[in-house]
Amino acid sequence: MKKIVFILAFMLIGSFAFANENPQTAIINDGFKGIVVINDFNLLTNVRVINSENELVEPDCLDIAWNQSVILSHLTGMNQSTLFHILVRSCWDTQNQQ
């Protein structure tokens, strides 16, 4: 079933960062759309996934890996796709072990 997931990214702390945030509604990727908040450094700092009823839902491995790969690619200069593959595999492996 094709679900539409809204992704809300926001700044956690720092009034300066909040003052400079730039909320935008955007298609994040195929099948994913939502509201992103980007700071002066074009960084997403946190992602929360909410459903169409605006209820907070437990993010799955795809969401976690996507979020972490965005952050890590900016911190390391590595390709986001490379990071995403590693992170999503690791997340699935961890879930399967539980």
Binding site: G14, D30, T45, L62, L72, S73, T76, G77, Q80, L87
Partner: protein
């Protein structure tokens, strides 16, 4: 007098040719993040993850083996990486577990990359890299190194190419055109390679005539396992797989 000068230049040139014909070497490289500060805005989970990556990089080593005409660069496996997410990311930051091969005569570059369990051989040419030589020097491992810069494209966001400066420091005293991660094409061995975020640096270097280095340690391997693709094709395959994940395939 002119004859003597000519003879002198000729003898130096010949001696260099003879030396370079017999040159073999092994270079061990490490990888590190340049700016290790983590912005306060990040969650503790991100800090933990980046700490694991930094820890993974501490003992990470890659080996470049070369002679005058070929080089291969590969990850030195020392510990199990199965469940170590920090180490996995650190290895990927250093170019991955695949072999990177360069041929100085044909200018051929073959980078073996893995996506999940599938192997790809990314083919390119040393001529694709447009280096600008800079008149700036520094000493690395007792070698006088010169600076060269180029611009590479990195997908910091999937589907969006970002231009990034790449700086190389090369030693002309080691007259081979090779370097780490399949980079090369400069008038000397690249001892250090850095983007604004990461640095690949030389940890140890041994060069010699063939007879002085153990034949087993100078093995130069051209990767053969994998599907041949261009850099652009590899990028598209990689991105398509991510979209398929998200669609639930």
């Amino acid at each position: 007098m002119k004859k003597y000068k000519l003879l002198f230049i000729l003898s130096i040139t010949l001696s260099q040719v003879v030396t370079s014909q017999n040159l073999f070497g092994i270079a061990i490289y490490g990888v590190e993040r340049i700016d290790k500060s983590i912005p306060e805005v990040y969650q503790s989970s991100t800090k933990t993850l980046i700490d694991l990556v930094d820890k993974g990089m501490q003992n990470l080593e890659f080996k470049l083996t070369f002679n005058n005409s070929e080089s291969s660069y590969r990850y030195i496996e020392k510990m199990t990486i199965d469940s170590d997410i920090g180490l996995k990311i650190a290895i990927a930051g250093g170019g991955g577990t695949g072999i990177k091969y360069v041929n100085s005569k044909t200018k051929e570059v073959v980078k073996q990359m893995f996506i999940d369990d599938d192997a790809y051989l990314i083919q390119s040419s040393l001529n694709d890299i447009n280096w600008t030589l800079i008149n700036e020097t520094k000493i690395i491992k007792d070698y006088l190194c010169y600076k060269a810069v180029t611009v590479i494209e990195v997908e910091l966001t999937v589907g969006e190419l970002t231009k990034m400066d790449l700086i190389a420091w090369y030693a002309i005293k080691i007259p081979v055109i090779f370097g780490p991660e399949g980079y090369g094409g400069l008038p000397g061995l690249i001892l250090e390679l850095e983007t604004p975020k990461m640095r690949t640096y030389i940890k140890s270097l041994k060069t010699s005539a063939k007879s002085k280095i153990d034949a087993n340690t100078i093995e130069i391997t051209k990767p053969i396992k994998g599907k041949f693709v261009t850099p652009d094709e590899f990028r598209l395959i990689n991105n398509k797989l991510i979209l398929n994940y998200k669609k639930g395939f």
